[in-house]
Symmetry: D2
Subunit: 481 residues, 4 copies
């Protein structure tokens, strides 16, 4: 039940045979919906002609029956599920972005966040560029376009672009003839590749490969560009370009393991569910407790709760029922309504907690408001003691790589010391996973992690203009003229 | 993940103070949505003027922001969430039913199924009655109306009606001045009462009381009529009429415990989650197994899986991720699509089951198709052995009381013997909860159960015209004229 | 631009061949939309199985592409376009009404208004009837059903029903095997019959026959029942029953000629456009004027304006542009907005009226508010003199036969004398067609007219409970219990 | 009933006082809807923050109640109604276009068509520009942005831009502080200015000024830029820049007079309705006929028909009823349906034409298909002779300035000689207004006209790449890479 959101899920498909790439993209978006629920879109490539269908809303809203040309003759597609700020025209920033440039049409879908977006944007504007969106995807499109003018291929242009942009980016790029997957040199955001018949698919998480019946092949590596076109798909297999940015130390966002990714996904060879079981086990070791039952906050705290239970020997229980019908159109109870109506969304199971000493596991504590509410529910249901355990370490530093942890001053663990936090939350004890152990959640140590939000150690330079509230709902007011 | 559906959830509210009864009904419908997802509605009573808002669809579709007069001055409301057949005009049967009769307006909401509906309907038609719907709710409305002509109050008319109708019915009735809750003499379907400030609420399950911040008071008893009006709400408290039908043996549908009700609800003093833990424990005792992990089919198999794990000592694990975004508008993969796309809805967690001996718990096996699909997913994920346990006994007889277990000939356990079932499902062992123990799921023996679908012992006479396919999507063709 | 509304347009089709009766009904509803814009519906009969598709809204809203089974195998259909009050659940009263009774299913569509509805309803309620709607169509359905129990055919039951009901009714009735058209003994509302291939169609106005490519055959006569089934359509032709109610004096609503019907329709052998030209000519003779130009209020005043121009020799001109895009979803300018925004809907053509003496023709003056507004527009556009002519006589009496002229006290011509009216409207002269000449609008005198709203001579008894506001938006409050 | 469509209607408002500029824009779009029915939008400026609300569809579809922030604090707005090709993502091209550039945000709305769009686009692409749309509005935005970098104000940048772009353009531009109206040097498309309280409004046609209660002030002159900001609105009045492009000969599209503009509008001091009356009078003089009645094809042929009637003395009659409820969602009769169903849209009034010699006036004949259909309707209705008169001259040349007269080879008058046309249309005589007299439709000769589609005399250079089908629904396929 994290208060943190990430930006976006990606999917791409190149089909040699007669696969329905529109339908595959649609199913993949359902599998990736947890990564972004504000908008989504699919760009289709039918023999070089690129079209796009996108809007704000969930997949079920954006693609009602009849809305996409299922069974069309397209052989390539890319798709995107987006988390993003609301703003006045949220539709504008929905992806894939499809543009026309000197060499034809290009579709882009982006997961991540550039740290030098402001500088690049300013430099482009100085040369006369206009921007339709507030998204850094458009900046990337511009730089690829610019480089394309002097490069012999789009993949060369992308390689050159990677030397200019910094920060987190997993990208799907579709030109009239090529499908291209790109992952930033640090590997902040996941991206994997699978086989589907004689064709290939790419996705942010392997659960989307499962959803379309593809077989996992490998992760796209940090700093790698993978190119598929009609020739390579048949003859050589995908072409891999290991850019020289590749030398960066890999820095997968550790919060992908704790919260973002789906438990059934495998990211950079890490089974997400296993990692969360390990988080629970570490928590049990670092912060043991005398208790009668271990419960998790659904859905993201359940895996770690099982891990804690197994390690500690304290029985695992179902503590809450989460209402699965509540969505965007749910009318919030007004302030004048009784506080109790919070139980519409989350209701405790009294028989599990009444008179019990409860270990409560959640994935994280960000601003603390959700956690307070949940603790109060348990108290009202008769829990005797509450021992709160967070499977993420204390959030102390802002993230510049695509999550919405904005500013230290709002962070619960930054504002309060341990005793104050206990009092604020009204819990009997409180424990966070240590930032040392958070990097040990992977069962085999083959990849590095970004833990900047816990440690302040940023793997790449921080943005110059940190203060600028990039995702402000209020659009920028112009300079005087 | 049962293939069985029930018909309906009920809610009613009488507010003395300034509660927003429209908003309360809306929240209650969200809490009761699991009982019926085909349509829903709310009837409001504003100083004697009854209006209704209803349609086919989920609460979120039927009540978009602005659709109900939140904050209106109404002091009474009843609401209904419906499961029902599609047919050509599903909207027609959506409830509450609101009609005008000799003595004014009346709104009805009904959960259950009459067993003498056909006879009553014929008798009414012989006297010139016309029917707008195919629902037995309209039959009940007619009989109350008829009795009202010779009775001095609506509650008297209802009492008389209860002598004429047979079968399962929990009812909410709203006249211009009264809110009335009714439960059939057998108590097939649940109905409980709570306090909200100085007013009262009724609901099919206590989870709806929690959702609106009401305090559980008691269950409406089998054969009881509870009446609230402006006088009783202030002075005497609700008037209870214990009809002489009351002498029937109570027969709560045991499948409410196993599947229908929400785990956080308390039904006839039974904590549903506890009952399911007990079902798991009984299963472990009746059908032990040598295994490495116990998993449940989400969401309805999870509670019993924990119970099995605790009793057996075999670790509990998360076996599947269920996609929570898939709803009515989801476009099913076409037959030509690969079979693998079933994993869009339910995807196994490989690390939990690969190479493992797995105990798989589901709430029931009806026609067997869903179970086969789930077992195949586990096999593909590498499960070494699969021991299937059903927390419901074998379905062998049709239900006439409001679930859609139609005919014995379709029932998996009726068609096959144990060995055949194992082969059909491709499991290593198979066990059903015994029909003896299914009545022991309640932790204290204060109520009787209907187990007719397992035992053939029907608590009230079966319908005469069993063969007539009452819920046929094809509407009846007329006789010749 | 009349402030009066009528209730409803009817259509029915019986196709022997392979006509798409759903599509024909859809096109006919477009042609009849001017008769009712609050709701519409189509009932289809596919080999005895009757289904209905209906909702509140315009045809374009109720039947979006994909909403009706075009090309289905149905051979019969009836359709209805409704004008009606808003109320709290306008959807409830939308027609066709489809009900099940002792002998099968029946669909009804009704244009008109019963004068003994209240008495019939009370008598039915005394026998235990329940009502789902506030429409008198349901009363008619009940009485047909009751009579059907003792009659050998539905047409007999209808004939018997006609002896019990009084007032205005043109009806389309569809049973499982028969299509039946009915017109009340006075012939208040129009109904005509046409041939389409080997089949038959019925419609309120001949413009709907034109729309579906049918050939006009004749009007259904006052007091006549026309029955079509599989036998008569092939062998004998439609069976006509001239009920003995037939002896009533025919009394077509004269306002059909002046305003309701479309100018291209032929109603009871009267060309509507010709009748309106004659209305204009009579006006020119009764109320001549010295003027420079004759203009009509679009659209219903245009025909009479041409008639006035031709008779008087004063040139005809286009005086206004009416915005054709404004519909139900148009957001009215708020009261705080400038008055001038009325010109969004109707804007004068300055060059036609500036400095001119203008004869302004409208179909009628009911409450006077619209007329005042239009006159002011002309004044602002520079008209020197305005001579207002109404092609309807003065409205002095309420109508009980299906228009919404409620009560004398609201009527402009009832409240004010001629001089006051001129002052109120700010016109230089004012003239109404005389109630003598209004009955001479037909070019050949073959039918009688109802002119009760002008003369107070009601062709059939007035309702007993005139005061009861039948179409009140507020639903009836129940009696105490 | 022309087969020609133009692109777009414009509106802009700068309010000093507390006007609701969102509501005014909404009403103005209703008044301008006839100029574009494919999409529309409103851009609001609230103290420098520019937001936009737009989509494909009619005003009533794009702006349902609640969709725009009526009553917001905005002080400036521009709005656009668009005619355009469908394509795969019609939404992309909907205007106003809102972009961010070096100096802030800018909103643009454009009516017209650049003739050097392709060259400009290519040149921009060579410098690395990317395009989101296929509209030349984006090209204009780029060039203004580029010039803005070296100019001290946006109006200077626009003036410089006007030296680079060629063709037809009326523009509304809104920066964070300024509202700017621009008309191309030839004045192809209309644009006028009005006062509203202490503020100003601009609109394509004066009927939109009437709709919002503004008072017409003057037309924006060809080659003029009008600038309003907080200073000028209060002190000096709008600043007018007469660009030196001003020396071009004025060339208002003469088809605005014949068809595009609304009859109640005044364009460049020409009363449109009067011009159409004159067109009818010229036709009567150039092509007299012996006939009994003159009728016009609704709605655009009605004015000229009155003019013909007055000049010739032949009586004016109403010949057709046009169904005003048919819109975008109307389901076209399938090919297998009878031809007669064309009468759903347009039905002749038999009494007007039966046995008569009819003069039929339409605004134009483009491809001839509509005209043939209309003539056949009249023949079926019994017209004895049909004398067809077109108030536009023969279309012989393509238009490059924003109408969709594509290619000579499709044009009826280009393909056939006079005798052939009569035979094709099945008329007794045929007459077109002469291209000499078409320039005399204005009652006072103060402006020049573009008559290129009739004469081939193009007022500005034709596009180089005429053959390129700019508005192709198929999006461009990329070059190879």
């Amino acid at each position: 039940m994290s208060e943190i959101h990430e930006e976006c899920g990606l999917f791409g498909v190149y089909s040699k045979a007669n696969e329905d790439v529109a339908a595959l993209s649609y199913y993949a978006l359902y599998a990736l919906q947890h990564r972004g629920q504000e908008g989504c879109g699919i760009a289709l490539n039918d023999d070089g002609v690129i079209t796009v269908h996108k809007d704000s809303g969930l997949v079920r809203d954006v693609f009602p029956p009849g809305s996409i040309p299922l069974g069309s003759g397209s052989s390539m597609a890319i798709a995107h599920a987006r988390y993003g700020t609301t703003g006045n025209d949220p539709r504008t920033n929905v992806q894939p972005l499809v543009i026309t440039h000197r060499k034809g049409r290009m579709a882009l879908a982006h997961n991540g966040n550039l740290t030098n977006d402001a500088e690049l944007r300013e430099s482009l504007e100085m040369k006369g560029s206009i921007f339709h969106t507030t998204s850094d995807t458009e900046v990337i499109a511009y730089i690829i376009t610019k480089n394309r003018l002097s490069c012999t291929s789009i993949e060369q242009a992308i390689e050159k672009t990677m030397e200019e942009i910094a920060g987190a980016y997993s990208l799907m790029v579709m030109s009239s003839t090529k499908l291209i997957a790109v992952r930033d040199p640090w590997g902040f955001r996941p991206l994997c590749m699978g086989r589907l018949g004689d064709g290939y698919v790419f996705a942010s998480e392997s659960c989307a490969l499962d959803a379309v019946g593809a077989i996992f092949e490998r992760d796209v590596e940090p700093g790698e560009i993978v190119v598929i076109d009609s020739k390579t798909v048949s003859e050589t297999g995908p072409v891999s370009i290991k850019t020289h940015c590749k030398k960066e130390k890999s820095s997968l966002c550790v919060f992908e393991l704790i919260y973002f990714a789906r438990p059934d996904s495998i990211v950079d060879s890490i089974h997400i569910h296993s990692a969360r079981l390990r988080a629970g086990a570490f928590l049990a070791l670092e912060h043991p407790s005398q208790a009668d039952v271990v419960i998790g906050v659904p859905d993201s705290g359940l895996d770690a709760a099982i891990g804690y239970s197994r390690q500690s020997g304290i029985p695992y229980g179902l503590g809450f029922i989460k209402n699965k019908y509540i969505g965007r159109t749910f009318i919030q109870p007004s302030q004048s309504d009784r506080e109790d109506t919070v139980r519409i969304k989350l209701n405790p199971i009294v028989s599990t907690v009444k008179g019990k000493r409860v270990v409560l596991i959640d994935d994280s504590i960000v601003r603390g408001t959700t956690s307070k509410r949940i603790v109060r529910l348990l108290r009202e249901a008769g829990a005797k003691e509450i021992h709160f355990r967070s499977s993420a370490p204390k959030f102390l530093y802002p993230c510049y790589f695509g999550t919405d942890i904005d500013s230290s001053t709002d962070l619960f663990a930054y504002k309060y010391d341990d005793e104050q936090m206990c009092r604020q939350l009204d819990v009997d004890s409180l424990g966070f996973l240590s930032s040392e152990n958070v990097t040990k959640l992977a069962d085999h140590p083959c990849i590095g992690f970004c833990t900047a939000c816990f440690t302040g150690n940023y793997p790449c330079p921080e943005p110059l203009c940190k203060g600028k509230d990039k995702y402000s709902a209020k659009l920028p007011r112009s300079e005087e003229e």
